[in-house]
């Protein structure tokens, strides 16, 4: 089944587009520091200069090479997104499975908790925390994950509930399979598509948050971030920095988020069992 899925995925244009972009950005993330021609914190260059061959995107107001800045910034955003998405996924799957599998009081409590967390605007807490405690970005990523797991856990829980009643589970249990065996061999593989979809969606949200928080100036000023670059660039809009300083970060941010959006949407289309359109639907 997995092999066929792979083929189906690649036939979807959105997936190929997303995949290509993802590979591109992955490369930038991994090799960013190596590709950067200069140390981005090096403030020795002439501020606000136009692009040249040596400085592909010119120099910002602090005398730093914009291109190198951008590479480091992309990496920060991607890492933030990955961490946050991953942790949110882990939490969501664990809590969703537990709630769906055990049911009863456990389920009620966990889902109420999820509802509460969903109602709280994450941005506010993040702003408060960032402003008050000035923590490391990783901490903020984790806090964000703490707000993103509820939606994942609800989907996982719903699917767990419906699979749990399936006959093949009953058969496995009748054969003597333990709870762990059932979860491990039957449930997890069924939920696999939901992991991918959930991760892609949350990663996207996290990257967006990172950019917004940086834009609002809530990170350490020395941390390179796309949002921060845009924020600074906008201050000098009256100068002709549109093409080299303002546009690249905007374009990169948009492409990054588009990448994950494409992946998320195509995964949802191909893998979501509820949206399957089969021949049998049409009555004969």
């Amino acid at each position: 089944m997995r092999i066929r899925l792979g083929k189906e995925l690649f036939e979807d244009r959105w997936f190929t587009a997303g995949f290509v972009l993802a590979v591109f950005f992955a490369a930038l993330t991994l090799f960013g520091p190596l590709l950067a021609p200069y140390d981005p914190w090096n403030m020795s260059f002439e501020p606000i200069s136009a692009p040249t061959v040596e400085h592909l995107l010119g120099i910002n107001d602090g005398g730093q090479d914009i291109f190198s800045e951008l590479l480091y910034a992309i990496r920060n955003t991607v890492v933030f997104g990955m961490i946050s998405g991953f942790v949110a996924l882990g939490l969501g799957v664990f809590i969703g499975l537990t709630a769906g599998w055990f049911g009863g009081l456990v389920d009620i409590i966990l889902m109420r908790l999820a509802d509460v967390l969903l109602a709280i605007p994450a941005i506010m807490i993040l702003i408060l925390t960032a402003a008050l405690f000035r923590p490391k970005p990783v901490v903020l990523a984790l806090i964000l994950a703490g707000f993103m797991w509820p939606t994942i856990s609800k989907t996982i829980r719903a699917q767990t509930l419906s699979i749990r009643e399936g006959l093949h589970i009953r058969a496995a249990k009748q054969m003597g399979g333990s709870d762990w065996h059932v979860i491990h061999r039957h449930l997890m593989p069924e939920l696999f598509p939901l992991y991918l979809i959930g991760f892609a969606a949350k990663c996207r949200m996290a990257m967006f948050m990172e950019a917004s928080l940086a834009f609002l100036g809530l990170f350490d000023p020395s941390r390179k971030s796309i949002g921060m670059m845009i924020s600074y660039a906008m201050k000098y809009y009256y100068l002709d920095i549109w093409w080299n300083w303002l546009l690249p970060p905007i374009a990169c941010l948009s492409l990054l988020i588009m990448t994950v959006t494409f992946l998320a949407i195509s995964l949802e289309k191909v893998l979501d069992p509820r949206l399957k359109n089969t021949l049998k639907e049409r009555a004969i």
């Binding site: 021949l279 049409r282 009555a283 004969i284």
Partner: protein, 647 residues
């Protein structure tokens, strides 16, 4: 108001292939009449219903025409069709609650057509709707509920009320009774009856044969998008003409037959074809078979030829290649190259004497392809004689025998062996009918040897093993080498059946195959015979003295007494309400009751009188002098001057 469907064909186009849902369907729905369309899933019945209302999806290619009252409906004109919908033709779809919008109350949905089609005010429409629904037994409370709060029966009633709210002329009911209680069934039947009295036309799509027979005038059998037979409803159970109809009836658990369910062997074709720029009016290109979910193909459907041939009990080679159309036979219309169910064996006026003793009086017997016919009678009734004459073993004094359209006597004279291949016989005592010198293998392979089909050792081994597995016997070497005395009677009888089947006969004759077996074994062997009959499409002539046994296995029964048939007819009818007193006696004895219409008396009887007159309690003078002829009564043949007809 009449609905006329003329050569309707519907093709669904997928990406690279097309699925033929309906092919050249022609039906007439006349006013005041109800037509039942019977078909299994995949036959195209819902497509037909949807086509009438113009509700097919956009990827459907439609040819042919549908006319209401003689005027053709133009399905490309959306406005006029919308006018026609519900007002002149309405439908009750299957699957109950799914057809109602879960967020609107049912009374709103029933009143909706009145508001938006007839422009009535909402209050007025609700009143009318409530009144209609109350006629269907839905009270005020229930009317105001949402679909998910109602039971299946209530929903069906609401759907019926909704369909009739604009008083249409044509009503289509798609599986209106499946999964519903008896009360709702009665309501549906009432709706049909009332509608008929108001001269409406009704199309009833159902797989409930009983319901169809009781509530409609004509029945059309739909198989894989083609109509296989059109017949008057009364003929469905007892005289269908198409093999598919017969097989389907046999698969149906009816209350008055006790014959175990048969089913139809094989799988239906899946009719798809590859699209190569096919335009309207193009001839169909090659038809592939494709089961979209499975990797293997279930067989190639012929581009022409009958689509039922892979499951038919009487298919011949030309069935695969000859085009076949509906033809009129009597008051049926049948789509069969062989013009309906053929008679496999037809004996006319055969008689047998041994010196002065009359073993068999002039008798007619017909066995149709694919059916199980049981000859029931006491010892000496002549049933074995008749069976052996049918097998070609005994030669009758007079009379003609026709097997598969050919004169048997001529056939026997010219080439007995080829006839012998067509008939397999299972005798009463397996221990005696198998040589004690032969091993199992020898016994089963003997026919192959006799007919010179034993050239290739490997091939024949395969054949023997194949046929042994059909009768659920082991196929390993040790078993093949066993001798009859090493086996129990049940296994031995199975070997005997295997031997009878090894040449792929079309007729299996079994002479008291289970009388010498223990009851538990008897049951298994009978079940085996039935399964074989379904699997291999055999016709069977079954000889027994036990009418209870015959009831369990036969389509038709012939009761014999003193060398002649006294009653022949469909098994269900004969058991349910026998017309000949002797039959009644047999049934009563089988039930353990003291016989109703007989008293003991001398067996010797005047050759010219009724053979039962000595024992019959209803005997009159005429019975002693005149042998009653077989006359048609109540859908079967009975030979009695004073038959037991229910008054």
């Amino acid at each position: 108001m009449s609905l006329s469907i003329d050569r309707l064909s519907v093709l669904y186009q997928e990406n690279s292939h097309a699925i033929q849902a309906l092919e050249e369907i022609s039906l007439e729905l006349n006013s005041g009449k109800c037509l039942s369309l019977i078909g299994e899933s995949g036959s195209g019945k819902t497509t037909l219903a949807l086509s009438c209302l113009g509700l097919l999806p956009k990827n459907a290619l439609i040819e042919g025409k549908i006319s209401l009252d003689g005027r053709q409906i133009d399905y490309s004109d959306e406005t006029s069709i919308n006018q026609m919908r519900w007002d002149r033709m309405s439908i009750v779809f299957q699957n109950g609650a799914a057809n109602l919008n879960p967020v609107h109350r049912i009374i709103d949905q029933v009143a909706e057509p009145l508001i938006y089609r007839k422009n009535l005010g909402r209050a007025e429409a609700i009143v009318i709707a409530a009144q209609t629904m109350s006629e269907f037994g839905l009270n005020h409370d229930e009317c105001n509920r949402f679909p998910q709060q109602l039971s299946g029966g209530q929903i069906q009633r609401a759907l019926l009320a909704m369909a009739l709210i604009m008083d249409p002329e044509v009503l289509i009911l798609d599986e209106p009774t499946s999964g519903l209680d008896a009360v709702t069934k009665t309501i549906v039947a009432n709706v049909i009856r009332t509608a008929r009295s108001k001269n409406k036309s009704i199309l009833l799509i159902t797989h409930d044969l009983e319901f169809a027979v009781h509530n409609s005038d004509t029945i059309a059998m739909l198989y894989l998008g083609q109509i296989m037979e059109k017949l008057p409803s009364g003929d469905l159970f007892n005289s269908p003409l198409h093999p598919y109809t017969m097989a389907l009836v046999r698969s149906y658990p009816a209350m008055n037959t006790a014959r175990d369910l048969g089913g139809i062997r094989g799988d239906a074709f899946y009719r798809t074809m590859h699209q190569h720029g096919r335009k309207k009016g193009d001839a169909y290109s090659h038809i592939h078979i494709q089961s979209p979910d499975y990797e293997h193909e279930s067989g190639h459907a012929p581009p022409t030829g009958c689509i039922f041939q892979n499951r038919c009990t009487q298919a011949v080679d030309s069935c695969r290649t000859e085009p076949v159309a509906l033809e009129t036979i009597g008051d049926h219309q049948v789509r069969c190259i062989r013009h309906g169910i053929v008679s496999l064996l037809s004996l006319k006026k055969v008689e047998k004497k041994y010196g002065n003793v009359v073993a068999l009086r002039p008798t007619d017997l017909t066995i149709k392809a694919g059916e199980v016919f049981s000859l029931v009678g006491e010892t000496g009734s002549g049933k074995t004689t008749l069976a052996m004459i049918a097998a070609g073993v005994l030669k009758p004094e007079n009379g003609t025998r026709v097997f598969d359209g050919q004169d048997m006597d001529k056939w026997i004279r010219s080439d007995y062996k080829s006839l012998a291949r067509q008939t397999g016989v299972v005798f009463q005592n397996p221990a005696e009918s198998i040589s004690h010198r032969f091993t199992v293998f020898d016994a089963v392979a003997e026919p192959l040897k006799i007919h010179g089909l034993y050239h290739n050792e490997g091939e024949s081994h395969k054949k023997v093993k194949e046929v042994l597995s059909h009768v659920h016997l082991s196929t390993d070497k040790s078993f093949l080498g066993r001798y009859p005395h090493e086996l129990n009677m049940g296994a031995l009888q199975r070997v005997s059946i295997a031997r009878a089947l090894v040449l792929n006969p079309s007729l299996l004759i079994a002479d008291e195959p289970t009388s010498s077996l223990d009851p538990s074994v008897q049951a298994k062997v009978l079940k085996l015979l039935l399964d074989l009959q379904t699997e291999l499409g055999l016709s069977m002539l079954f000889v027994t003295h036990d009418i209870g046994l015959a009831r369990k296995i036969s389509d038709r029964i012939g009761v014999m007494l003193q060398g002649q048939l006294v009653e022949i007819g469909p098994a269900s009818l004969i058991i349910d309400r026998p017309t000949h007193p002797y039959t009644q006696l047999l049934i009563d004895s089988a039930c353990g009751l003291s016989p109703a219409f007989s008293h003991p008396g001398p067996d010797v009887v005047d050759n010219h009188g009724c053979p039962f007159s000595a024992r019959c309690s209803r005997v009159k003078d005429i019975c002693k002098h005149k042998n009653p002829p077989l006359l048609e009564r109540d859908q079967r043949l009975a030979a009695c001057h004073f038959p037991l007809i229910l008054e």
